[in-house]
Symmetry: C2
Subunit: 293 residues, 2 copies
């Protein structure tokens, strides 16, 4: 065991999104050779130290490394006083702004969107205001079959229209159906991050059909009452959420230090949901592209 | 390279004293299997993140692990607002107090004493108020030679007197000189911690004859002007301090990330002071006991 506290990096087309920032995050980022210059957005699920206390040093280090572009932090309102304390006492000489976007953890809403994806909050049940994050790729456009461009001498303008789903009308009036010109588009991929939380079936419709689900499993079933009283989940409960949400894969983490052996978490979860995996520091989980059928 | 930021543990007769507390300190303490229950005193040289940002999580973890006894922090006055921020926002449920003992970094004075040692401040020159710490064992009492106790049938009361240096007077009036009854006492050992600081010869009389000296060496001589402007030292300067102070050994650390190779620091220092050593995460340096001659 002896893991670092929580932090994850989501790589979306080589832009990096940091999810939670436990102590030691900057060390792990360096060890994993993540390009820090491509990291501008940090999502904080809740203001407990094991998800937050790496932020203070990370911001200082980004500055040392010559970062110029602003850092955007998405976290609960309570974070503001801490950010302000560090702005006033430790971050006086930053070349960039640390901008806080306070989020309401009680509702499911989009808090970020760009060209390639959206981020939604997932309301969670913990001892303090907490939410998870759902990252969704935007719909991919159809891919035009390259040989068809030559075959029909298709103009750039028409290529665009065909990608949007239109048919091609040849000069002789013949209509070539869109299906004959295009491949099915890639499926939009999604990732859901749910930590820390008690067992909460209300999140199931929000994360339905997610490709990859990280769900905390601090405890084993034999300590379910402890999980409930501390606002955490068991491996079995995490697996139930994954099964009901029809997730592609379930990643398990945030294990209590009381257990000496990780593999039991995987065993317990697999009884409910076969695609369950215990994660270790530095593990990577690519979500492969696949086409709609 | 890729080291953790600064933190050191001094083991004085199995009581542990933490010196600085950079991010990730609690992780390293666990990896080195330091008994956290024996750690109650934390000395912070200055309020820069790479010497401080591990404190917030360490205190929280000590509480999780069941710590009951108070934590005493020795640091600059400016630390108080940060400690108060964490007391109010993150350390509300501690079973112990986090007590701050503000120190004046501009003078050399004793700030801690117990049965076995004293701790003095070493005023340093850095960009913000900073001091080093000198840990000195108290003088050891003389050791009585065991065979002499039987030989002269010495009483417990007399043993105590002999250890203090007195002679033994036998019932027949004969005087046995103290030197014949005792071994020379152990030498008092000392450790000086000097980080961060520009080259500052004023510290030499304070740390004179120290057994083990840690002195920062952020830069190499070729970047001496950068060292000066940022309030740091070169390896050569650290070695000069060690030589002039007649230190036993010099430990070098706090290397700038601009250098890819540690060994150059040792090479540079050894030209001035042979007993120079580059330190790595987890290294231990015992100071062996030896008798006065």
């Amino acid at each position: 065991m002896n893991r670092f506290p929580t932090a994850q990096v989501l790589n979306v087309h080589e832009r990096f999104f940091l999810i939670d920032c436990g102590e030691g995050t900057q060390l792990q980022l360096r060890r994993q050779r993540i390009k820090l210059g491509r990291l501008n957005h940090i999502f904080i699920s809740h203001a407990h130290g094991d998800h937050l206390f790496g932020l203070f040093g990370l911001v200082a280090t980004l500055n040392l490394l010559g970062q110029q572009s602003d850092i955007h932090i998405y976290g609960t309102k309570s974070l503001e006083t801490t950010l302000q304390h560090f702005r006033e006492n430790y971050w006086q000489d930053l070349r960039f702004e640390v901008i806080h976007h306070p989020i309401n953890t009680k509702v499911n809403q989009v808090i970020f969107e760009n060209n390639s994806m959206t981020v939604e909050t997932i309301p969670l049940k913990h001892r303090i205001p907490t939410c998870g994050f759902l990252f969704k790729e935007r719909p991919w456009k159809k891919n035009i079959i390259k040989s068809k461009i030559q075959e029909y001498n298709i103009s750039v303008k028409d290529i665009q229209r065909i990608k949007e789903g239109e048919n091609l009308i040849l000069e002789n009036g013949e209509i070539i159906n869109n299906d004959k010109l295009t491949e099915k588009p890639f499926k939009s991929r999604s990732y859901a991050y749910c930590s820390d939380t008690a067992y909460n079936t209300k999140i199931i419709p929000i994360i339905e059909n997610v490709d990859l689900l990280y769900h905390e499993s601090t405890f084993l079933s034999k300590d379910a009452s402890l999980a409930k009283s501390t606002g955490h989940s068991t491996a079995e409960q995490a697996a139930k959420i994954a099964r009901e949400a029809k997730a592609g894969k379930l990643l398990l983490g945030h294990f209590s230090a009381r257990y000496k052996n990780d593999s039991i978490f995987e065993e317990e979860a697999k009884k409910v949901f076969e695609e369950s995996i215990v994660v270790n520091d530095g593990d990577q989980f690519p979500i492969p592209l696949s086409r709609n059928t």
